[in-house]
């Protein structure tokens, strides 16, 4: 006998699926609006010819395995291993998981580590695209501020000490030590060393998001955190998005074998596909990736310089704009009393948009700063966009 009342689909959902979170919003093209908001790659720089050549090679030489069922290509795992070695991080294939972008790793992290109420330490400001996954899993987020030289390690130590006194042990610290998103900062070697010592001392995992580490404009950055700790307390999260193309959705995690196994087991769809992992490996082989990274460094350096020069020309002098030594972003701090949200509203009237600092804090701070991306739009738009923000500033004084 059927159930008495008219059954509905909604009654079938698991508790966790009864309500629906906000959907991911993708930007629309917005006419004349210049967007300095998106941390997208420079489309002019995509190495389409080399990518096509790599595709042709895979299809000619390895289609039988590449197009059938199978694991992520072991050759790509080995390539990541080799790149880790080149950075001073010892790794074997069992230390590497290939994922659909580093964002998939960041989304899987709380599956492995976070139960509701667990403490996770994040930077302020930080990349909230990662942090929202930690929050969704019920993590209690504690924020340590970033200053002009990255994570304030003194403040971190004091937080860890206080937590230990309360008998609390955070699950992990999420940090972007190299060309930080959004602040563009670079954590100096001494802070790096102290950070990994603290991780080991307090038994807290450090999740090192290294999305931008290859994109240095002057000198190579100090050793990765993963190169400074060999006891498994650092999990590096990396990606081909910034050095090749975000649309390929190809990234990795590199760290302790047991963590990697667990991330893999929560990656429900299994591999990241035998085909595209082969194309990416083949692209990277023969020095194509290395050459391309050199070109990207030059291109993004030029854009950064263009943006900073325009800012020096067009903006009030009391806006603090540190010079980022790599990455995609310029971080601007406003004079006391000025609001980034208000500046944004005014700027949009002038035909330019950016991301206000509040979008980068888990604790509601950030209205005194904002992020500009120099990576995405062409040169002329960088100059025009900065000038338009300059005009917006002048209406606010």
């Amino acid at each position: 006998m059927p159930v008495s009342s008219v059954p509905t689909l909604h009654e079938l959902y698991a508790g966790r699926a009864k309500t629906l979170g906000p959907a991911q919003i993708w930007p629309e093209h917005e006419g004349d609006l210049i967007t300095l908001a998106y941390g997208f790659a420079a489309p002019e720089m995509f190495p389409t010819d080399d990518l096509l050549a790599a595709t042709a090679e895979v299809l000619a030489e390895d289609a039988a395995e590449g197009l059938n069922y199978g694991p992520s290509y072991p050759g790509l795992v080995q390539l990541v291993v080799d790149r880790m070695h080149a950075q001073g991080t010892p790794a074997e294939p069992g230390n590497v998981l290939i994922a659909y972008g580093s964002s998939q790793v960041l989304a899987l992290l709380p599956e492995v580590f976070v139960e509701p109420g667990d403490t996770v330490i994040v930077e302020g400001p930080t990349f909230m695209g990662a942090v929202r996954h930690f929050a969704a899993a019920g993590a209690k987020l504690l924020t340590v501020n970033v200053d002009d030289h990255g994570l304030d390690v003194d403040a971190l130590e004091s937080m860890l000490r206080d937590l230990a006194k309360q008998g609390k042990r955070p699950k992990f610290i999420y940090t972007i030590p190299t060309f930080h998103n959004p602040s563009g900062t670079l954590l100096p070697l001494e802070r790096r060393q102290r950070l990994v010592e603290l991780a080991k001392e307090y038994g807290v995992l450090v999740v090192e998001d290294d999305a931008y580490g290859e994109l240095y404009f002057e000198n190579p950055p100090p050793p990765r955190l993963s190169a400074l700790n060999h006891d498994g307390w650092v999990l590096q999260v990396g990606t081909f998005s910034k050095i090749l193309a975000p649309g390929l959705r190809m990234g990795w995690a590199c760290g302790n074998h047991e963590i990697i196994q667990r991330l893999h087991s929560f990656k429900l769809e299994g591999s990241s596909g035998p085909y595209l992992t082969r194309v990416v490996e083949r692209y990277c082989a023969d020095g194509r990736l290395a050459r391309h990274i050199e070109e990207l460094r030059a291109a993004y350096r030029e854009r950064r310089d263009l943006m900073l020069a325009a800012i020096a020309r067009e903006w009030p002098k009391d806006v603090m704009v540190p010079k980022p030594e790599g990455g995609f972003f310029v971080w601007a701090r406003l004079p006391k009393g000025m609001s980034a949200t208000k500046l944004l509203a005014e700027s949009e009237k002038h035909g330019v948009t950016f991301v206000p600092g509040t979008h980068f804090y888990a604790n509601g701070q950030g209205d005194d700063a904002f992020r500009l991306s120099f990576s995405f739009v062409p040169h002329q738009q960088i100059e025009d966009g900065i000038a338009r923000i300059g005009a917006a500033f002048r209406t606010m004084v």
Copy 2:
């Protein structure tokens, strides 16, 4: 002050991650062993030239969006919508989720529907690659047998009636109505109609796995379940794996908009990549996919015929081998008292392997049957493999 004892990484894991499930095992090449085990695609049939052409078109015409951040290509969503319409299933873009293979959809299903102890109805035999995800989520699995014409809908009705008497409502019924894996059966129209009526009457979702529906060898199959119910009680799960290439990891779910939204929200990495979704769409356009499917039908029909002819020649007559009208598999039922597990051990001594029926049942049954795949190995290996199994049979009589 650091915590007193030496902290370990293991203490950081969430409860769900403390123990580690078995890892997915990928087959190794095994020398002279002929494998009729894997449901892999025929590697000789991969349309490498057309796939390269589609790749070249995307890279030439749409790289700026295809290689940057973005959602799954809306054009591929529309293509699935159009294919659904062609099958008689009304759908709009909001009814479709593009996923990393249908296996990702099947892995996400329990996230949306299953809490520990919930009832899920599966077929016996069935594709355990899907069912293991339901079991991992804590579902109580009930099995309805498949006969020569697919799911025994009488038995299903009686099970639903008994459950309703106990006040129990299953979350979903997982079924492969068209060229069933592993049994090769085709559910007739009348059973399809009754199945979707029962779904609506009892308020149970039907998950229709349509992996093989396009690969018919004689006549097109009856309408999909999704074409017979327009009230949201059928969720179709589809894939480009069997009609294009498994290595691309590209599949979809099509059904009620609210279910699609929920599947999407549990797909933590977001989109399935703007790049490969464009390549697949471009490949399918201009009739390439339609032509290729015709070629696949002919190729797999030939392999099926070859396998059945070899079986008729080489095996004892009391092994029951129904003729599948499509798909990848032949299902063989043994005479009473004979064990597929024992036949497999003997067959491997003769240099051939297959999958015993026990691998396809959630309830421990199946040692009276086994699955042969004619899709993967070349013609000569089909004939040799069947002959070797014939030799194994002769040692067992």
